[in-house]
Symmetry: C2
Subunit: 265 residues, 2 copies
């Protein structure tokens, strides 16, 4: 999938692009079923909320074949590669559960601030591209973005080790207030199969999910190969050290997987 000039201009201006209807219900249902299976297992790559509900499954592309395909899917790899005009490697891969009732907050932060401080990533030539596995609604803890907040570089941040189980470099209230006065706050919502890509410096957060609806989103953090990380403070399955360029699979690879295993068809 190639972005149009208009889409590139919108990304540059707003700091994100929302692309509905990128994956079919058949493709998404395969991934949703696999995610539910993964969250039933116990392994070191899976982190939990304080309630015990699953929060995040890291590196699922390394131990699950369907997510392995997704991690090399041309509809996710190509637009990011186009923007950076370079091949990409996988810096991080995660399935965020945002479980019904128990999914906790992600406080306001910039992803590149985390990659820079924790992992020594040289520049913001990396970004998240995400795919909704469930419908994202105003009521089930949607991602919130501050449009245009990617234009100011990396803000100072405090290392929040207490709010949730996941350590995060978070921004202060004054910074968020000023940014929101300029850019507002938006919460893109949409059907399963929607894709959301956002600049590594875009300020974002997500509130708890108090609804009975699941809100699973897969995040691929794709980094330009020349921009690979230089510090290895975090576990390899959180901040990968394999900088091999990703070779995209065929566009119908998820459907082929579904046919092969007769799952979720």
């Amino acid at each position: 999938m190639k972005l149009t000039e208009e889409q590139r201009a919108e990304f540059d201006e707003q700091g994100f692009l929302f692309l509905p209807d990128q994956f079919s219900e058949k493709e998404v249902s395969v991934l949703r079923a696999e995610a539910d299976e993964i969250f039933k297992t116990k392994r070191k790559e899976i982190w939990y909320e304080s309630s015990g509900a699953p929060r995040t499954a890291f590196a699922a592309h390394t131990y699950n074949e369907a997510f392995g395909i997704l991690g090399a899917h041309p509809r996710l790899i190509e637009p990011v590669s186009q923007l950076f005009d370079e091949q990409l490697y996988m810096h991080q891969f995660k399935v965020n559960a945002k479980a019904p009732f128990d999914g906790e907050v992600w406080q306001w932060h910039q992803d590149y601030g985390v990659w820079s401080r924790n992992d020594g990533m040289p520049t913001p030539r990396a970004m998240n591209i995400s795919i909704f596995l469930d419908e994202v609604m105003p009521v089930n803890g949607p991602l919130m973005f501050i449009p245009k907040s990617h234009k100011h570089g990396v803000f100072e941040a405090g290392h929040d080790l207490e709010t949730t189980s996941y350590p995060l470099w978070t921004l202060d209230k004054e910074t968020i207030t000023v940014l929101a006065e300029n850019g507002g706050i938006v919460a893109p919502t949409g059907k399963p199969g929607s894709v959301l890509m956002f600049h590594g410096n875009l300020v974002h957060a997500s509130p708890p999910n108090i609804s009975p609806y699941p809100r699973k989103i897969v995040y691929l953090t794709l980094c330009a190969v020349s921009n690979h990380i230089t510090k290895f403070n975090r576990d390899e399955w959180i901040a990968h050290r394999d900088f091999t360029p990703i070779e995209p699979v065929a566009d119908d690879a998820l459907l082929e997987y579904a046919r092969k295993y007769s799952v979720a068809a």
Copy 2:
């Protein structure tokens, strides 16, 4: 203000009515300024979040003249009196701050479950009618309703003394899940001056406010005089014991107040 037959039918079916543009910006700005003043004071009727931010100012109609007027405003009293076909008294009055960044969750509950269990209110002939002092948006912790959930009487509930500073009888996950399968979940949003009235048995909640935007709402809990409470477990300023019928003030009383004190004009 009188409800139309269509509005009465909608209320009966859905369990709530959302009425935008009921109070002008001039009227609301008076109340907003008074609320901000109240939240700066220290008094027993004001409760706080764990962060120290204000959560709720109870009984503001008894110690603030503008809120005294609002507590007898015909645009709030008349539609509820019409539905119950009886005069009303004030069971509870509160300004909920839902402060920027710090406003905490209100878990899923039914108001009448609280009034019945705590205060011995005989029947659900009481309801909340609320007025937005700030814009309510998807991103600043809007009220969430489960439409049609008022049709099943009072559900079993557990007394939640831990989640926040305010004790609340809350419903279990299974009940919420089944109700939401039938009725969905809606989060009415709108400008300051909007009015929202909802049945005492309508199941509702609100998520934390992680945005930089305030989200103040005033709630009048109006009870049919013949349905007054019978137990006096809670402080008088939380569950009032003055069952005198409310005499509505003039429709322009808030504007008159603003003229008199030259505030917020």
